[in-house]
Symmetry: C2
Subunit: 301 residues, 2 copies
C-alpha cells in the first residue's frame, strides 16, 4: 500500500496559498520525495511528513518550481545532525549547483549524499527490495523525467498451512516465492503450486512531471493504480499548453484513458486559476476516476 | 522616512511559522530588499510588498537562510514579464550559482540583472540620489556583510520666502542646498545662511546581518535611527553563540548602547525558542528601546 501526499500543486509562481511541485510517497517505513519546489521543507513540517524517513529524493527536471527547495532541505538535514545516507536521483547538472552552494557556505554535510544522475531512456534506477523505481523521459522544454514506483512483490505468495504441513524450512521461503519447487529431505519433489498461490501484482504509481501531451508515454505506466498527470491549463488553452510544453485537463484524462490506469490525479495548476473545480470537471468528462491533487491530501493506493 | 518590514526573523531552520531572514526597506517609491531566505517571495505576497518597486536587492552572505529564496524571486520576476533592471549586491560567488541555475533551465531573463559584487572593507555601494547604501564587513563563519542605509539629504534646506524675495532662480536651488552663496545679477552676494537653514540629518538604518559580538562594528552605524542586530541565542548560551559566530540578546543590547543608536530591533532567533518574550526582556535590560523583529511588522523610521 502506498500513500501519496501532495505537498505542492501549483505551477511556477506560488499563488492562492498553493505551492510549487512536491509529493511524498509513503511506503512501508520509507518516504520517497518526488520533486522539491521552494518551501517544500515547510510543507513537510506542516503535513507532518517524517523527515527521518526520507532517504530517497527524485527530481524530475531543473525548472526551479521543481527543485529550488532542495538545497534548503539538504541544509536543514545537515543542521539537524542527520547521519543517514541520502540518495538523490536527478538530472546530472544539479550536482554542480548543489556542490557550489555547499562550498560557498563552507558546508560539509554530516551525512553521505549519493548523487545518481538520471540515465537516458527508460531504466530502473532503484530497487531497494521493497520498491522498484523506473525513470522515463517526458517531453518538456528542457530535459525532463517521469517516474514509475512499483511495489516489489514476489510472483508467488506462500500458503502458510502448506509449508507447515510439509515442513518446508523458512530459509527456503524466498525461493518458493520466486516460483521454485521444493525437494524434501526424502527426495520427493513438492511442486510450487502446492505450497504457494499466485501473488497479487504490486501497486504502481506513475508521476509524469511536466510534459506536453504525449500518448507515447503511456507505455511506461500501462495499467498503473495511480497516475499523476499535470494539467497546467484548461482545455481552451490547448494551443498555449503545447507552446509551453504543458498539458490540459482533457489531455491528462486522455492519457489516463489510453494507459488504462485505475485512477488519475491532476496538478501543476496555472496561477491563472483561483478555483479548481472546472479543471476537475473537464478532466472527469474524459476520465471519470480523477481527482484534484489538493495539497495535504493523502491518496491511498 | 523609512518603513522597515520584517519578512523573516528565524535562524537557519524554519520553525513556529517563522521564516529565514528577509527584510523590505521602503523609502520614497522604492523597496530595498535585504536578504532573501527560502520563501521570501511568498512572504512578499503575504505582506503586500509591491514587487514592482523592488529594484535593489542586498545579500549579506551565502548561508542558505539568507539567499535560498533569491533564485525563486528572480525566476518569478521573469515569469511575470518584468522588464525593469534589477540590481543585486552580493558576495561575488553568488553570480556563478545564479548563472548555473538559469543556464540549466534555459532561462534568459527578460530584464537586465546587474550584479554588484561586494567590495572589501567599508564602502559606499549605492547612491541613487535618494538613498546611500554603505557595506561593511561583519565577523561570521564565512564572509559576511552588513549594510547602512542613509537617507540622502542636502546639508541645507531652502527658505522658500527668502529665495522668492531675492529672486534666486530655481536652477540654483541645488547649489544653495549644498551650501553655496548666491551672487545676484547686480553683483551682490547673498550669503547662504540668508537663503537656507541647516537641514535635519537623513535617517539611518543599519543591518548587521549575522555576526559574532564585535563592538568594532559600532563605528559603521554610530547614532543610527534604527539598528537591526541578530540575537540567535539568549544570554546563557553566550559561549555557544561565540563558537558559532552568532550573538546573544545582551550582546545586541550592548552594541546598540555602544553605538548610541536610537532604537534596536532583534531577530535571527534560534529554532530552540518558541516564545520570544524572554529574548526581548534580556535585550531591554541592556538597551531599553528594543523590539522583537516580528514578521509582518513595519517599523517606521
Amino acid at each position: 500500500m502506498f500513500g501519496l501526499t501532495v505537498l505542492g500543486n501549483n505551477s511556477a509562481i506560488p499563488a492562492f496559498d498553493r505551492h510549487p511541485t512536491a509529493q511524498a510517497l509513503t511506503f512501508a517505513d520509507q518516504v520517497y520525495l518526488i520533486d522539491c519546489g521552494e518551501g517544500t521543507q515547510t510543507q513537510i513540517a506542516k503535513y507532518k511528513i517524517r523527515r527521518s524517513r526520507i532517504n530517497h529524493i527524485f527530481i524530475s527536471h531543473l525548472h526551479g518550481d521543481h527543485y529550488f527547495g532542495l538545497i534548503g532541505l539538504i541544509s536543514s538535514f545537515s543542521l539537524m545532525g542527520r547521519t543517514a545516507p541520502l540518495h538523490l536521483y536527478a538530472p546530472a547538472e544539479l550536482q554542480q549547483i548543489l556542490q557550489l552552494q555547499m562550498d560557498v557556505a563552507s558546508n560539509i554535510l554530516p551525512y553521505p549524499l549519493h548523487f545518481h544522475a538520471h540515465p537516458t531512456g527508460h531504466q530502473i534506477i532503484l530497487d531497494d527490495g521493497k520498491i522498484e523505481v523506473f525513470v522515463f523521459p517526458t517531453k518538456h522544454r528542457i530535459k525532463c523525467y517521469g517516474f514509475l514506483f512499483k511495489e516489489r512483490k514476489w510472483p508467488r505468495q506462500i500458503i502458510k498451512e502448506a509449508v507447515l504441513k510439509y515442513n518446508v524450512p523458512a530459509v527456503f521461503y524466498q525461493r518458493l516465492q520466486q516460483g521454485e519447487d521444493y525437494v524434501a529431505k526424502d527426495g520427493k519433489t513438492l511442486v510450487n503450486s502446492i505450497l504457494t498461490t499466485a501473488n497479487k501484482p504490486g501497486k504502481e504509481y506513475a508521476y509524469t512531471a511536466d510534459t506536453i501531451f504525449d500518448p507515447s508515454l503511456c507505455k511506461y505506466f500501462e495499467g498503473a493504480d495511480l497516475l499523476y498527470h499535470e494539467t497546467t491549463y484548461m482545455n481552451d488553452l490547448e494551443k498555449k499548453a503545447a507552446e509551453r510544453f504543458h498539458s490540459t485537463t482533457k489531455q491528462a484524462g486522455e492519457i489516463a484513458k489510453t494507459a488504462k490506469v485505475k485512477r488519475l490525479i491532476i496538478g501543476h495548476f496555472s496561477s491563472k486559476y483561483e478555483m479548481l473545480d472546472d479543471l476537475l470537471d473537464e478532466t472527469r468528462a474524459v476520465f471519470k476516476n480523477s481527482d484534484l491533487g489538493i495539497e495535504g491530501v493523502t491518496f491511498i493506493i
